[in-house]
Symmetry: C2
């Protein structure tokens, strides 16, 4: 079981852009077709490596190729507050167009490959290429739409519903990119999930156990198999 799960989203191997599963929505690839090789593609960051420090001037967009990132803030008492997770296909930096600087810290949860695009070159293309401009508008608009849905769900009181939605949303994000497997790897720790959802690790743990008893999930450490997707979606209504 463990081996099967692990193979689903392994990031131990490197693939070319042409073979990349994300190519249909891959901005770097699209850019390479219009303006050759201006992008530093598929740079590798190690687990726990920091990509972005909050407050730094906005320089690059980051597009996740494989792996996972977390964005977070650090309070005075050194406690972390996680703002969100970035999975393959996600783009980091859209919120910085306005503020001109990075608004959150971003760190790699596992070994992660990202494509980096300079802001100036990105905006140059927005000006020149109408098709690209439309794509960017859609990306921005879609981001807003997704955040609205997120807020809707996190305003929910019950912890069960929150965690169920969290798991489903990860599944859903992979599914949008053609990975229809019901096997999911949680790149983040229980502590990260708890922090993000405004719950405690104990509550996360208890609910996962409960979902397992109810035959909704099969939990093996960081690997989750969704046995009953409908039940997961409708849990906590």
């Amino acid at each position: 079981m463990r081996e099967i799960s692990k193979s689903i989203r392994s990031n131990s191997y490197s693939i070319s852009c042409e073979l990349c599963s994300l190519s249909p929505i891959c901005i770097p690839l699209m850019l390479n077709h219009t303006a050759n090789s201006i992008i530093e593609c598929k740079r590798l960051y190690a687990k726990d490596e920091v990509l972005i420090n909050k407050g730094e001037p906005f320089a690059n967009f980051y597009i996740i190729n494989s792996g996972a990132l977390k964005s977070y803030e650090v309070a005075q008492d050194n406690s972390e507050q996680i703002n969100g997770f970035y999975l393959p296909g996600d783009i980091v930096g859209l919120d910085s167009i306005y503020t001109k600087k990075y608004n959150k810290n971003v760190k790699a949860l596992t070994n992660t490959k990202v494509c980096e695009i300079h802001y100036s070159e990105f905006m140059l293309l927005v000006d020149k290429n109408r098709k690209f401009r439309d794509l960017v508008f859609h990306l921005l608009s879609n981001d807003i739409y997704n955040y609205q849905k997120l807020i809707l769900f996190y305003s929910q009181k019950r912890a069960e519903a929150r965690l169920a939605f969290f798991i489903y949303s990860i599944y859903s994000r992979y599914e949008q990119q053609g990975h229809t497997s019901l096997n999911i790897k949680l790149s983040m720790s229980r502590a990260d999930i708890a922090n993000y959802l405004g719950l405690t690790i104990e509550t996360i743990s208890r609910i996962l156990s409960k979902f397992q008893e109810q035959q909704i999930l099969l939990v093996t450490g960081k690997y989750i198999f969704i046995k009953d997707l409908d039940a997961l979606v409708s849990s906590g209504e």
Copy 2:
């Protein structure tokens, strides 16, 4: 006290665009300067009037001139789930660029004046006018930034912190537009606030009473005077 509060953001009178307090950030005004009078400006909606039904094809952006709107969804059991509130200066429809249809219902909380801009004319200007395009990019980016901040706060567990932030965020939104008064009118009911924050009206009520005892707020129905802004911001840490 009551009269003072009421005068702060009264929407019982109509003002010209040139005198409008929002003109520095007013898109319709900006549009009128570049492309004359393509906008149906300052249309009035009555309290409880529905501006948008979810699922309708995306046609117009709405910019709030005065008053307030709420966006919400209706579940199978007819229960409402509020997604957000729109205050003067806010723009409705940014999330629909991607989906091509309206994603939420939108209703007036009080008598509300809005400026309407056709999507097609809006995008025409994006193509033609570079300055306007930059403005729109900033609007979209800023929206994402604000949603991120919102999520950060709604992941907070404690009800006190949520409500404090909610009140502060309303103050903050008015402040961004030059209304620095510590008097706030809550256009929405306690039930709407509770629904939005994922709490109950009783909890909202109790916390407001507590904030009053602590000399942080002065609550008079829908009118709130912030006696201690610092204490409000730092409450519930």
